[in-house]
């Protein structure tokens, strides 16, 4: 430890939610002027620990020090007073307000939008975060909304920024820019705590790394002294290291000659407001291949996937989609699961539209129990309420449901978002298994590495048009940005 008092020090922090122990003596020391990465699997306690530092949660016990002084932080307002700001995963912005109004919101009682806009321009220029104070938040892309959140914190004189998985919502180039920005912010005297899960990213940008596992701090070191393997070991425990770390393209089976099972020809989709979201898309997916879809958020990939999954009718053009196509949407809580229903009921949901008469509950429950065993879904039993399951287990159930009966096509959207390394490995294995079984698989992921690791071919959606590109990181990246404007 250096002689300088840590900017932020949390020690022996405990926090439980009912019977669940979220933090069990976690510690984190962040030196002034560093980018400190906080790593851990889902549920390791990263977000909880940082919410405690930001005053959103109170610890059961433990100490919190800012610049060497022991403090109690009861609210985000109190955290702000210590110069601590946080950008959470889900932004706290009012869509129907301008950037300036959002920044002014929750500030001093006196509202002076002109002064606020001035201040935003000054901060924007100083920090190198381009933003238009007069823009409506709902019109901004995700990356810009994130900048608004950061500027909000800076406008309240935050010198320490906690960023909760900031790159999860960004395209690769945007993510790289944000990470480069955190370095500059730190070099200018600021301090950054970066909650992250992409190990490669972390090693590139962080000065130091702390790893949480099951609510305890298990590892802390200078980033220069560790490798991806060391970090993965620390996150998972030595015995459980996943083979997906440091993803390398695996040996893919040769592309089959089977006929295309999922065909879109010249498909155009307009949204309810008449705006063209997808223009003249022509794609065909063959049995036994995985097609990767790469796109910056909002490029029309959402509509493309839903047309491919038979969930959206094209405005013009033709989509040939097998009736039993499986679909794993990105937001499983909203679109894939009924959280207050049982596992059995959630499995029964697939095909519920065409069933008649009395449902065969006993056999549905047997099917669900079998599915739990084959997909390693951990729950009390098939009558458990799905809300009580971890995200990984919920996703494995969704995937298992959609793959039941070996559908000829499967469309998945960000299938591993929010999952820990182990669950991610299980999902990837299931997708490869489906391909081996002859299913035509379409995967969209905002993580380009994930696409490149799984896909046989890659198509890029940019500005509503679809192109096929080579399996090359740079080529895909360039195509994603092209035509986007």
């Amino acid at each position: 430890m250096s002689s300088v008092a840590p900017r932020l020090a949390l020690d022996a922090i405990k926090r439980h939610y009912g019977p669940v122990i979220a933090l069990d003596g976690a510690a984190l020391h962040v030196a002034p002027g560093e980018v400190h990465a906080l790593l851990g699997e889902n549920g390791a306690g990263k977000s909880t620990l940082m919410k405690i530092a930001y005053g959103l949660e109170q610890p059961d016990s433990g100490t919190l020090r800012v610049d060497g002084t022991t403090v109690t932080i009861r609210s985000p307002r109190a955290a702000m007073a210590f110069g601590i700001g946080m950008v959470q995963q889900h932004f706290a912005l009012v869509d129907a307000m301008t950037v300036a109004e959002n920044v002014a919101l929750g500030g001093s009682a006196h509202l002076d939008l002109r002064a606020t806009a001035q201040r935003i321009r000054a901060i924007s220029a100083d920090s190198g975060l381009p933003i238009d104070p007069g823009a409506m938040v709902r019109d901004l892309p995700v990356g810009a909304q994130q900048r608004v959140e950061i500027i909000k914190a800076l406008a309240r004189d935050a010198r320490t920024l906690i960023l909760d998985e900031p790159t999860a919502v960004l395209a690769p180039q945007e993510a790289a820019e944000l990470l480069a920005w955190t370095r500059r912010f730190a070099e200018g005297g600021g301090t950054v705590v970066l909650i992250a899960h992409k190990l490669r990213e972390v090693l590139r940008v962080a000065d130091r790394v702390t790893v949480l596992r099951r609510g305890r701090t298990v590892f802390t070191a200078r980033a220069a002294e560790v490798t991806e393997v060391t970090l993965a070991d620390a996150m998972l425990g030595e015995a459980e290291r996943s083979p997906v770390i440091g993803v390398v393209s695996d040996n893919r089976p040769a592309m089959s000659d089977a006929n295309a099972v999922l065909v879109l020809s010249d498909v155009t989709v307009r949204d309810d407001g008449g705006v063209v979201r997808l223009r003249g898309a022509t794609v065909s997916v063959r049995a036994g291949e995985i097609i990767g879809v790469a796109a910056i958020e909002g490029s029309g990939q959402r509509e493309l996937l839903r047309v491919m999954a038979g969930r959206l009718q094209p405005t013009t053009g033709r989509a040939t989609v097998p009736t039993e196509v499986g679909f794993v949407p990105e937001d499983r809580h909203r679109d894939a699961l009924v959280l207050d229903a049982t596992l059995t009921e959630n499995v029964a949901l697939r095909g519920a539209a065409t069933r008649r008469g009395i449902l065969p509950w006993a056999s549905l429950e047997r099917d669900t129990t079998a599915l739990m065993a084959s997909r390693d879904v951990r729950a009390r039993d098939a009558t458990a309420v799905i809300r009580t399951l971890s995200g990984g287990n919920q996703q494995k159930l969704v995937l298992g449901r959609e793959l039941a009966g070996s559908p000829s096509a499967l469309v998945v959207e960000n299938p591993t978002r929010g999952l820990d390394i182990r669950a991610t490995g299980d999902v990837h294995a299931a997708l490869r298994g489906a391909r081996a079984g002859g299913t035509a698989v379409v995967i969209y992921s905002s993580d380009l590495d994930e696409i490149l690791a799984l896909a046989n071919r890659v198509i890029v959606v940019a500005g509503g048009t679809v192109h096929e590109v080579g399996m090359d990181r740079d080529q895909v990246g360039r195509a994603m940005l092209a035509a986007g404007s």
């Binding site: 029964a348 697939r350 509950w361 429950e365 039993d381 009558t383």
Partner: protein, 375 residues
């Protein structure tokens, strides 16, 4: 097992709770607590005759309307219009019954009941179509339609449906052949109570085991997932739920006319459709539990008139208590949600093939339907 106990325990505890509240209210207002409660008890359960003619007769329309509210809420529809749907059901049934000759007999009675079902369903479908076509909130439209229904009835009993002497704002009396049969001689207890109980059991079975019932529950619990993962036509399911809800309330109105009042008049319902919301909430939207909660409220209403008569306590006092019970229910849901459990509205029946399964956790529950309290 625990579910059965719960289905009985909850209405009972609500009954005890409301009696406690009533006692406190009486004491504060300076009424003789013991005397008033004794009168209430006598009026609700004092003899077989008051139980049958008072409590059970009052509980019947409450059960019909309570089921109507339950099925709507389980589908994610906040139907506050059971009152108007019940009234339209009563109006249609009366119109059919006074038009038919006495010789129509049982067939005529059935036709009147069917007319009530259709009219209630049609009245609710207005709100359903308004919601689907124009995005009109059903909370608003159903309340508005209650007022319209009241005036339509008022108009009819002063116009086309007025009794032959043209003196009173009510319809002619139904011929005895077109009335529901009495279950207990010497009391007002009619066959409608049995119909209501059959409807409750049938609705529970429908929701729990059948495919359309499952679609309805899933649509109510998460319409987006129902549409995306289940590929369910949620607009259609919602509209059907509106109609089913209105039909149950309409049947309640038809039963009231053919079993109790034997004539149509404006103030046929003393707010059954509103009290039904409390009936449904107390039953956690479970149709079987609704039988118990309809009894609790039926007893309170029957007892209230006895209390007014014998102890000079205004019957409105009971209305205050009923509202209090609703507030307690909504608050307990909120507390439950804060504690990380599903609130009362988030529970209900579900298929379980292992009756001996762990009973510490609440059986799942497909409804998260309407959330009545803010999070």
């Amino acid at each position: 097992m625990s579910r059965v106990i719960r289905a009985i325990a909850e209405p009972v505890s609500a009954g005890v709770l409301s009696l406690g509240m009533l006692a406190a209210l009486l004491a504060v207002s300076g009424y003789p607590v013991g005397e008033a409660l004794a009168a209430l008890w006598r009026g609700a359960f004092g003899s077989w005759s008051v139980l049958a003619s008072g409590t059970l007769v009052r509980a019947t329309p409450l059960l019909f309307a309570g089921l109507a509210v339950s099925v709507a809420f389980r589908a994610g529809i906040l139907n506050i219009g059971a009152e108007g749907q019940l009234l339209m059901g009563a109006t249609a049934a009366a119109a059919v019954a006074v038009t038919l000759p006495a010789s129509a007999g049982v067939v005529g009675l059935l036709l009147a009941l069917v007319a009530g079902v259709l009219a209630g369903g049609a009245w609710a479908s207005v709100a359903g179509v308004l919601r689907q076509r124009f995005g009109v909130l059903e909370v608003i439209s159903t309340i508005m339609l209650n007022v319209v229904a009241l005036h339509v009835t008022g108009l009819l009993v002063r116009g086309p449906l007025q009794e032959p002497t043209r003196t009173f704002p009510q319809s002619a009396l139904l011929d005895a052949a077109l009335r529901l049969p009495r279950l207990l001689p010497g009391t007002r207890l009619h066959a409608g109570v049995a119909v209501a109980v059959v409807c409750a059991l049938g609705l529970a079975w429908f929701l729990r085991t059948t495919a359309p019932g499952f679609r309805l529950r899933m649509t109510g619990a998460n319409p987006r997932a129902a549409a995306s993962a289940g590929r369910i036509d949620v607009a259609r399911v919602s509209l059907l739920a509106f109609v089913a809800s209105g039909a149950l309330a309409g049947l309640g109105g038809a039963v009231e006319v053919t079993g109790v009042t034997f004539a149509l008049y404006e103030n046929l319902s003393p707010g059954y459709g509103y009290t039904a919301i409390a009936v449904a909430l107390l039953a956690r939207l479970n149709p079987v539990s609704a039988i118990g909660s309809a009894l609790v409220f039926g007893a309170l209403e029957a007892g209230a008139s006895a209390m007014q008569r014998d102890a000079q306590v205004p019957a409105g006092m009971v209305g205050v208590v009923e509202a209090g019970v609703i507030l307690v229910l909504v608050a307990s849901e909120w507390v439950g949600r804060r504690a990380g459990r599903g609130g009362p509205l988030n529970r209900g029946g579900t298929p379980r093939s292992d009756p001996a399964g762990p009973s510490d956790t609440e059986p799942p529950s497909p409804t998260s339907a309407p959330q009545l309290s803010a999070t």
